[in-house]
């Protein structure tokens, strides 16, 4: 320590004259290799099943090779066409399209291209399907332009060609634009019409509901965690089992249970009507909306708040509160000025955990959220499995990932990651 502070340039050497750092590294190399060997299976597993798919997904959000791969000559020929000119492309483009489509139809790739471009402009899918059936019968001698327009008059439509040209580059920002409800119009990037905007609003709702869920988890979980930490071991173990019980029950069962409880003909409404608190005509709507999502997800994520809180609270010695009281603080002051600040790392850990889990939650909003209570992840799932627009799903997922990371950085700036303790 002393040497390195006073003379940083002077290199220390071992007895035989070799650099101390080199010798140390050599001595530790064996241990490092051993450590690497021990974690290698997990490392490989994580790389293959976690890092690689995520990287692939991130890539998919900008990847757009399908147009150029399927219609290489057309893309080439279109390069010289000015999409803003107001005129259709010339004969060479149609000729290129013809020879490209002949190959594509043979390899049956034209329908895939059709459905890809259909995300951008409806109707293109059927256009390619229809043209695909006709293209083989086209006459090589006659001009292709007329033959294509005769096959489907969409080929005489400027917007078809504009779309084709706009999405001919290998990489596109189109998915990301779509993910923030924007599109590339004639005058550059612009927002979609208000009635077509969904994703910004969904992102906002996802964040807002996640915050609400986090806060309700904190309010419900804090006293429980306090009890767990304060009660004698035997009682607190029993309580802990009750806290962990939901973990041993299927997620679907729990969510379905909430359906039974919350629906309009459900247990809670029946009870409220029975005791006369609400009339039969005014049964509360507590499910298939945001209320349902908040209630069910708070219940499901509660243990993730309680456990970090508990593990932090357990380390807070009861003598702190006693000391505060002996110094003249009443119960509230002792709690608020002495106990609470020391439990903040637990709140931080619990809040981050619950929030990040909530923001990406899928199954519960799907089941109890109806239309007003679904999250962005449900939309991602829709694009993955129903609309098969993986590019848009990837873009939405990337934005979700980015949002979480930004929030994490903000959180680090405000609270400090050092202040997060999981145990």
């Amino acid at each position: 320590m002393f040497m390195s502070e006073t003379a940083p340039e002077q290199l220390l050497t071992t007895h035989d004259g070799r650099s101390l750092k080199v010798s140390l590294a050599r001595a530790l190399r064996r241990e490092k290799l051993r450590a690497l060997f021990l974690i290698a299976p997990l490392l490989i597993f994580v790389l293959l099943t976690f890092v690689a798919p995520i990287a692939d997904m991130l890539f998919r959000s900008v990847e757009n090779g399908i147009v150029e791969d399927t219609l290489p000559q057309t893309v080439n020929a279109l390069a010289s066409w000015d999409s803003g000119s107001g005129e259709l492309p010339g004969e060479p483009v149609y000729a290129a399209l013809h020879s490209d489509l002949l190959v594509a139809v043979k390899e049956k790739t034209h329908t895939r291209l059709g459905s890809r471009l259909n995300y951008e402009q409806t109707g293109i899918s059927s256009l390619f399907r229809k043209t695909g059936r006709r293209v083989k019968r086209m006459d090589d001698a006659a001009p292709f332009k007329e033959q294509f327009i005769a096959a489907d008059d969409k080929w005489a439509d400027l917007s078809t060609w504009q779309t084709l040209k706009q999405f001919s580059p290998r990489y596109t920002d189109g998915y990301f634009l779509a993910a923030v409800d924007a599109e590339r119009g004639p005058d550059g990037i612009e927002m979609k019409p208000a009635d077509e905007q969904v994703y910004i609003y969904l992102f906002g709702r996802t964040l807002l509901l996640s915050v609400a869920i986090t806060i309700s988890c904190l309010i419900l979980g804090y006293p429980i965690a306090y009890l767990l930490a304060a009660l004698p071991l035997r009682t607190s173990n029993l309580l802990m089992i009750l806290v962990l019980l939901p973990f041993w029950t299927s997620l679907l069962v729990r969510t379905s249970a909430w359906k039974v409880l919350l629906q309009q003909q459900g247990v809670i409404n029946d009870f409220l009507v029975w005791i006369g608190l609400i009339s039969n005509a005014n049964r509360l709507v507590m499910i298939n909306n945001q209320t349902g999502t908040i209630i069910a997800m708070t219940h499901i994520l509660l243990p993730f708040m309680i456990l970090p809180l508990y593990s932090v609270m357990k380390t807070i010695s009861p003598s702190y509160v006693r000391a505060a009281k002996s110094l003249g603080a009443n119960d509230w002051t002792a709690f608020w000025r002495v106990y609470f600040p020391q439990s903040v790392p637990g709140i931080g850990a619990g809040a981050v955990l619950v929030f990040i889990l909530a923001i990406g939650y899928y199954i519960t909003p799907e089941l109890v959220g109806g239309t007003s209570g679904i999250f962005i992840s449900n939309r991602i799932a829709y694009h993955i499995s129903s609309s098969l627009n993986w590019g848009l799903a990837a873009a939405l997922g990337t934005m979700l990932l980015a949002a979480v990371m930004i929030l994490f950085v903000v959180y680090d700036k405000i609270v400090g990651i050092d202040n997060v303790k999981l145990g």
Binding site: S317, S319, Y320, R322, A323, A324, K325, S326, L327, G328, A329, N330, D331, T333, A334, R337, V338, P341, Q342
Partner: protein, 364 residues
Amino acid sequence: MAGTRGASVVYDSVQKSYDGESLVVKNLNLDIPPGEFLTMLGPSGSGKTTCLMMLAGFEPATHGEIYLNDKPINNVSPHKRGIGMVFQNYALFPHMTVAENLAFPLQVRNMNKAEQQEKVQRALEMVELGQFGNRRPAQLSGGQQQRVAVARALVFDPELVLMDEPLGALDKQLREQMQYEIKHIHENLGVTVVYVTHDQTEALTMSDRVAVFNDGIIQQLSSPDVLYEDPQNSFVAQFIGENNKLNGKVIDIQGDECKVELSDGTHLKADKVNVDSIGDLTTISLRPERVEFDDAVSMDNVVSGKIEEMIYLGDHIRVRMNVAGNDEFIVKVRNRGEKRALSVGDTVKVGWARNDCKALDHVA
């Protein structure tokens, strides 16, 4: 700040049970006058900490009443008792600086800022930590944390300060130094101090009076010298200082003197302290430093014993002997620098005065 501004404390028939089946504190009666430094000394589980916690208000008394300045405080909540307390592991608030820790009791009393600062600074200087106000407790050494804890317990001028094994976490040298410091602070301020420890040296060094606890009962309550010189029963004799045990039977009693026959037939003269009648079994207690080799012949009790082991300890030599069938008989010989003709295996005569050995209750 000299003079007495301490509070008086009275425990009146206090009993405490945690489980409703056994008593941790059995009928405690204790009178602590203003300004006294009283130590509750005892092994763990003897009920001493429970007594302290009842006084602080963190444990309710199961029966009986505790009075602070002649006012019953059983139903006064801890924060209204105005008692300063130093905890075993200091309990300094880790998220506050030293100065904030000290200001805490003043803030909750709504004292104005200027006065707070002045008091905090004065308290820090009292414990010689004037420059450390802006540090966090974790940045201080154990001894410094200890001093902050003491300063915090005193900063709001309480009349009574409780200390629960405050020096337990310090190393030996620091512990001794802190003992003197706490003693001097007590002398300067004149507050009443109730101090709990299981370390008898600590108790003897600091206290005006020591209450020796065992099994939920005060075994003896007296000043340190009386405790050492005149233990009232075998537990106190064993617990305070080193002690030789000799078991025997009372064969004669004359006033406060009695004659005891040991198992090997040796007769000893002893002070009658805790035996009632002839024929009682008794344990004689004798301090190792009161046994002499040289003048043995002229003393009240003379026995011969075989030297089993000699350990050189610098200021004295510890000689383990077999006396009257007890091979744990220890004699401490002061190191006067002269060569002594003692060696292991020798059989020598040892002797001691009658009033140095006490006939106490019998322990096996």
